[in-house]
């Protein structure tokens, strides 16, 4: 029996399965013949059309799954309005650019058993990067400086903010807070929400710190307080308490500066600064910061009490009178 294999069809089948269940679970029908496929292929025009249709619908589905009907802020002729992914305006506000490079990188992933080199993930547009991240369930390959330099649209950036795991001393999207002018209006409110969630996660971590064992407490905290949102997973990789607190305080300072910029000289329209101020209040950013600082001082007080008790014990050991 003669079997004709079309690499483009196999790639599309692979992409469909990868979008649905990640590449680890994506097994194509003719997997046993993959070694007979060419290492590189030139895509046909017909494939390009089918590819565009596939990735567009996959990304739309992914956006809906990620943000559900969460409203975002938009500037409409100088006035701020809210739209969700169910609104046309939402989609018209951003343009996706899917190139054949995304398909090439996915083909490299499909053929990774037979190609010795790692796919060149950075040879892609930010939106190609997005689909590769969705397929591989790994959003950590693309940094925010890279995304911004390559003009990722606000929604692509928002998806990376939502799905990138955070390591406390390398908060990837802090880049956006440090460069607030580069942040589009719809992303601003979402960043405020995410900043508050991060502080809540830091407070959660702080609550579990034991003053008697100040080192060796490296844990991940998952903040899944928002039912409809993507849980924020924060890894606390720093051993020393003061280093951890300094890092969080630096983040808070960045966030506060960005919020001040967005509600001041960096406002986009006539009234968006009111929405930004409202969002800071709605997500209780200042309250969460206060709570965090309270926990820091409670922790230090606990450590202080421990130190005082220890000192009294030593004094008692060295005194001549009876201790009891």
């Amino acid at each position: 029996m003669k079997l004709q294999l079309y690499p483009e069809d196999i790639l599309l089948e692979y992409a469909e399965k990868a979008f649905a269940n990640s590449i680890d679970a994506a097994v194509v029908k003719h997997a046993q013949y993959l070694n007979r496929l060419p290492r590189m292929i030139e895509f046909s025009e017909e494939f390009a059309e089918r590819w565009q249709a596939l990735v567009k619908s996959a990304v739309k589905r992914f956006v809906a799954d990620t943000f559900k009907l969460r409203p975002f802020l938009f500037d409409v002729e100088g006035y701020t309005k809210r739209f969700t992914s169910a609104d046309e305006y939402f989609w018209n506000s951003c343009e996706f650019s899917f190139s054949q490079r995304g398909a090439e990188r996915l083909y490299e992933l499909l053929m990774r058993e037979f190609i010795e080199e790692e796919p060149m993930f950075l040879v892609a547009t930010p939106d190609d990067g997005l689909i590769l991240s969705i397929c591989t369930s790994n959003f950590g390959r693309y940094s925010f400086p890279w995304l911004c330099r390559n003009r990722a649209n606000w929604l692509t950036q928002a998806l990376f903010v939502a799905w990138q795991q955070v390591v406390i001393d390398r908060i990837s999207w802090q880049y956006l807070l440090d460069n607030p002018a580069e942040v589009a209006l719809p992303l601003r409110e979402y960043l405020i929400e995410r900043c508050a969630d991060l502080i809540i996660a830091c407070s959660g971590h702080m609550r579990h710190l034991d003053p008697s064992t100040p080192s060796g407490q490296l844990v991940d905290v998952v903040n899944d307080l928002r039912e409809d949102g993507v849980p924020l997973k924060v890894s606390f990789n720093q051993h020393d308490f003061s280093g951890k607190v300094t890092t969080v305080r630096r983040f808070i300072a960045s966030a506060e500066k960005a919020f001040a910029y967005w509600s001041g000289e960096g406002s986009v329209g006539l009234d968006d600064e009111k929405f930004i101020r409202g969002a800071v209040q709605q997500y209780r950013f200042a309250e969460e910061v206060r709570e965090f600082e309270q926990l820091v001082s409670d922790y230090l007080e606990g450590r202080g009490m421990e130190g005082a008790i220890y000192e009294s014990i030593i004094q008692n050991q060295n005194s001549n009178r009876s201790s009891t």
Partner: protein
């Protein structure tokens, strides 16, 4: 070259009972806010401690601890009495040629009920002091944690009782933020 051997020396040969008592025990005072008269506050605190898993003994309220350790809360005198587990022996290294004389010294001290004086007992004292200080500190922190939770419960009950003396309690709400708890009681007078 001389060989050295590890030997175990009964601790009472190196340190006196008074010294051992000092190293293995510690007392610390605590405060109780007098929201209600002292005897009522004591009763409430006792109740809270017993509800938290402590047990009553002749000396006071005993906090559950590791084997060999005791933490007793004397509610009336507002003191926590702690006692840590003292080791029975002290391990040290002795050179081959000194073993006989050291053993003789130990036997003599045991027979006469006295302590060996010298570098060995000084070293045992400083090592044991550091070990016991850390052990007592951890025990104190554990006992403090139990006491603090019981005090919080005591204050909550005392405030409610106090409020009910003023008038009819119509609403009670509590909120916690950071390390502080706020109790709001509405009273119809």
């Amino acid at each position: 070259m001389s060989r050295s051997y590890k030997i175990r020396i009964p601790i009472e040969v190196l340190l006196s009972n008074d010294r051992l008592d000092k190293l293995g025990s510690f007392s610390m005072p605590f405060d109780v806010m007098q929201i209600l008269p002292a005897d009522q506050m004591q009763e409430l605190l006792k109740k809270s401690l017993l509800a938290a898993g402590c047990s009553e003994s002749g000396a006071g309220i005993t906090v559950p601890c590791k084997k060999g350790e005791t933490a007793i809360i004397d509610v009336e005198n507002r003191i926590i009495r702690l006692r840590a587990n003292l080791p029975k022996d002290f391990e040290t290294s002795v050179y081959e040629e000194s073993i006989r004389s050291v053993n003789a010294e130990i036997e003599k001290a045991l027979a006469e009920g006295e302590q060996i004086v010298g570098r060995m007992s000084q070293s045992a004292d400083s090592l044991l002091a550091a070990q016991m200080a850390a052990q007592l500190r951890d025990l104190a922190m554990e006992a403090r944690k139990v006491l603090n939770a019981a005090l919080k419960e005591t204050y909550r009950e005392a405030i409610k009782t106090k409020a009910s003396q003023i008038g009819n309690v119509t609403n009670i709400s509590e909120s916690s933020e950071g390390g502080s708890t706020r109790i709001r009681i509405e009273v119809a007078v």
